[in-house]
């Protein structure tokens, strides 16, 4: 009686041993790959981050240190931050940039996805011409379009009062970059799904909104990130259209630190450091949509 229990237990112990040692072996193989990955990524990360670190360090330097060739500040100070934050309108400019970026990104997320969807899933005459025409807008630098835009805006009064917000935003409410992106990503949505929904009697917009769009969430998230950043950095157009200082965006405001014969680099870097915060925030929020699910499989590389 006891020997069978003994052998049972030993059998079970053996099984457990085998499982443990095999998983240990798997982990051992994994760790060399991962080690290599981390090494390469770390070296790359150093190259990637250094200028950013320098920018922040510079914002902590008092003006006399700007002309020295040093990486670290010798007498770190917060006076630049104090000065920049108390510069008239800095808070307002920050707010303007955020507002405009949000408006634009919301609009782009909707319209670009819709157009990308249409260009990918529908057959209609003129499709390729329209796509190419939209893509073609990327091939002309916007500096050349500023004068017609400004003349149009003045006619409609978009450079006065609160309409200035619309004036600043309107050239960017729909973008070809996003349309192109979404068009590409809708390749990964099988047409059968859409047809099935049609058969079920769903109307077209519902198919787009409920069936197709959720399947390209990573692309929409990426689009949101880049559109937010692009709008955030907009400089020339907001400068030209805004007729009063309160409506400037942050890059325009920061450019006041550049003068004819010299630039206040430490103040500029301070403003730039402060400007990075919402961008990193937006990235961290939206990138979860993109990355979810990859790390678990680890099979794709």
């Amino acid at each position: 009686m006891s020997s069978s229990i003994e052998s049972n237990v030993t059998q079970r112990l053996e099984v457990v041993e085998r499982l443990v040692s095999s998983s240990q072996r798997k982990q051992f193989r994994f760790s060399w790959d991962l080690f290599f990955a981390y090494l390469v990524l770390s070296l790359g990360a150093v190259v990637m981050i250094t200028p950013f670190i320098w920018m922040i360090l510079t914002s902590l330097k008092p003006p006399p240190e700007l002309v020295q060739f040093s990486f670290l500040p010798k007498n770190p100070t917060l006076e630049n931050y104090w000065h920049v934050l108390n510069t008239s309108n800095f808070g307002r400019w920050y707010f303007n940039s955020i507002l405009i970026a949000i408006i634009s990104t919301t609009s782009v997320a909707f319209f670009d996805t819709l157009v990308g969807y249409t260009l990918n899933k529908f057959e209609f005459p003129g499709k390729n011409v329209i796509f190419l025409g939209m893509l073609a807008t990327l091939m002309v630098p916007t500096e050349m379009l500023i004068i017609p835009w400004f003349t149009m805006s003045v006619q409609f009064g978009w450079n006065q009062g609160y309409a200035q917000y619309w004036g600043i935003v309107f050239p960017g409410v729909i973008t070809a970059v996003g349309i192109f992106l979404m068009r590409q990503f809708f390749d990964g949505v099988p047409n059968e799904l859409l047809d099935a929904a049609r058969i079920d009697g769903m109307h077209e917009f519902g198919i787009f909104w409920r069936v197709a769009a959720p399947l390209v969430k990573p692309a929409i998230a990426a689009l949101c990130i880049f559109n937010f950043i692009g709008n955030w950095n907009a400089y020339l157009w907001p400068l030209i259209i805004a007729s009063s200082r309160e409506f400037y965006t942050l890059p325009v405001g920061l450019s006041f630190f550049r003068g004819e014969t010299s630039t206040q680099w430490e103040k500029l870097m301070t403003g730039a450091s402060l400007a990075t915060v919402p961008l990193l925030l937006v990235f961290l929020i939206f990138q979860r949509q993109i990355i979810k699910g990859i790390a678990l499989t680890g099979l794709k590389g």
């Binding site: 003006p63 008239s88 808070g91 307002r92 004068i147 003045v154 030209i240 200082r245 309160e246």
Partner: protein, 440 residues
């Protein structure tokens, strides 16, 4: 759930920025307002690019002007960064908005006049002989084809900065900076310190993208007996005589033969001097403000540019005020603009301006103020006003680029200096030809 979280974060960000916006002081468009006392109030708009002390000075002048002229209101728009000042003005024109009086860099005047954007100043209000007599000779550049198009309140000149500590450690007398070109050469060589191939101290850097190209055109060329352009500004004369080539060789010699410096080492022209690594440095009066902020402990002095062959010369530049076609279209605004322009170019205005901005006054009367001449730092600049020249630039950036390219070709690619000067002359001559032919 994800969507909710995202919305929450976004609203948090929005909330924080709203709070930040409400905490920070909200700036107002610098407007001056007067109570109209029943008379018709004429409103004119004045634009300049944003530069702290100039904005303050102009606000003062406007306040005084409006007190004396209660029926004129001046809107002061200085909310434009320097980098895109011209673009903002250019965009405003076809849209029908913009300034009645604008401050422009004198070098832009030919382009603005060519485009018909600024109008000639009426001779009865601004008599030419009076202007020529009262203002520094460099203001001649505001005349074009016999008409006067603008007037400045303040001007700048070039002078030689020197680092007293570096001079002392090189065995030179810090109270005896170089007064002639030969002295500059000697002292710069003596001041240069090298460890093998590396410079520890630069004696004198010729940096064409900075102020040095002006030094070549208006100072060196004249000192070697060659005027840079013909009197009617139709011909480039840099290589019209041996003197021209000699000036060019001298220009190049500091880097090539004497080895006192290398162009392009510092990102900004003045960084080396501010860092205390350069002994002698060419720069304008505007650099003084920089030094006060970025190098307050620098032990330096300023002296007039070195003379040569008994000839003293310096380069002067200035920001000048012109009246635009927008003002000229309306007689009331035109009259108001003229009054304003007259007011801001009086010697009194010049004196006020100098006090606030530290620039030099455009009027000789204010410039010959003994206090100003005795000033330790501004004195050397003020002393240059009677012999300062400004260049008539058809296209300043291309003219400058021609010299930069010629210099780089010699210094980086070992090209023949005489050939390079010839090429530069050809390039700039083409610019002039293009400009004048389109005016025919």
């Amino acid at each position: 759930m994800q969507a909710h979280f995202r919305h929450f974060i976004l609203s948090l960000v929005l909330l924080i920025s709203l709070l930040a916006a409400s905490c920070a002081p909200v700036g107002t468009l610098t407007q001056t307002s007067t109570e109209a006392s029943g008379e018709e109030v004429v409103t004119i708009e004045y634009w300049q690019y944003n530069f702290g002390v100039r904005v303050t000075a102009m606000n003062e002048l406007i306040a005084q002007f409006e007190a004396e002229n209660p029926n004129i209101k001046v809107i002061h728009n200085s909310d434009i960064p320097y980098d895109d000042y011209r673009n903002k003005i250019a965009a405003s024109v076809p849209a029908g908005v913009g300034p009645d009086i604008a401050t422009l860099f004198y070098g832009w005047q030919p382009a603005w006049v060519d485009a018909g954007y600024i109008v000639p100043l009426p001779e009865d209000e601004f008599p030419h002989e009076q202007v020529l007599a009262e203002f520094s000779p460099m203001v001649k550049a505001s005349f074009f084809e016999g008409k006067l198009f603008s007037l400045p309140t303040a001007v700048r000149t070039l002078a030689l900065f020197y680092n007293k500590d570096l001079m002392a450690s090189a065995g030179l007398d810090p109270e005896k900076p170089p007064r002639t070109l030969d002295e500059l050469k000697e002292q710069a060589v003596q001041c240069t310190v090298k460890e093998g191939d590396q410079f520890k101290v630069y004696g004198f850097i010729v940096n064409p993208p900075g102020q040095a190209h002006h030094w070549f055109r208006e100072v060196l060329l004249r000192q070697f007996g060659q005027q840079p352009y013909s009197d009617d500004y139709r011909k480039v004369l840099w290589n019209a005589s041996e003197g021209g080539y000699q000036a060019w060789e001298t220009f190049l010699s500091f880097e090539r033969e004497l080895g006192t410096g290398v162009a392009g080492v510092y990102q900004n022209d003045q960084d080396g001097f501010l860092a205390g690594e350069v002994c002698f440095h060419l720069d304008g009066s505007f650099r003084l403000g920089n030094i006060a902020t970025n190098a307050p402990d620098l032990n330096f002095g300023v002296v007039e540019l070195p003379e040569h062959n008994g000839i003293k010369s310096t380069f002067g530049s200035y920001w000048t005020h012109g009246i635009t076609t927008k003002a000229a279209a309306d007689p009331a605004r035109y009259a108001a603009a003229i009054k304003f322009l007259k007011f801001i170019t009086t010697p009194a205005a010049g004196k006020l301006w100098v006090g606030i901005t530290g620039e030099l006054p455009a009027q000789l009367e204010a410039a010959s103020d003994p206090e100003l001449l005795a000033d330790e730092k501004l004195g050397a600049f003020a002393a240059g006003l009677p012999y300062a020249h400004s260049t008539f630039f058809v296209d300043e950036s291309k003219d400058r680029q021609a010299i930069i390219d010629a210099y780089d070709a010699v210094v980086l690619n070992n090209a023949d200096p005489r050939q390079e000067l010839d090429i530069a002359v050809e390039t700039v001559q083409a610019l002039l030809d293009n400009f004048w032919s389109s005016r025919q």
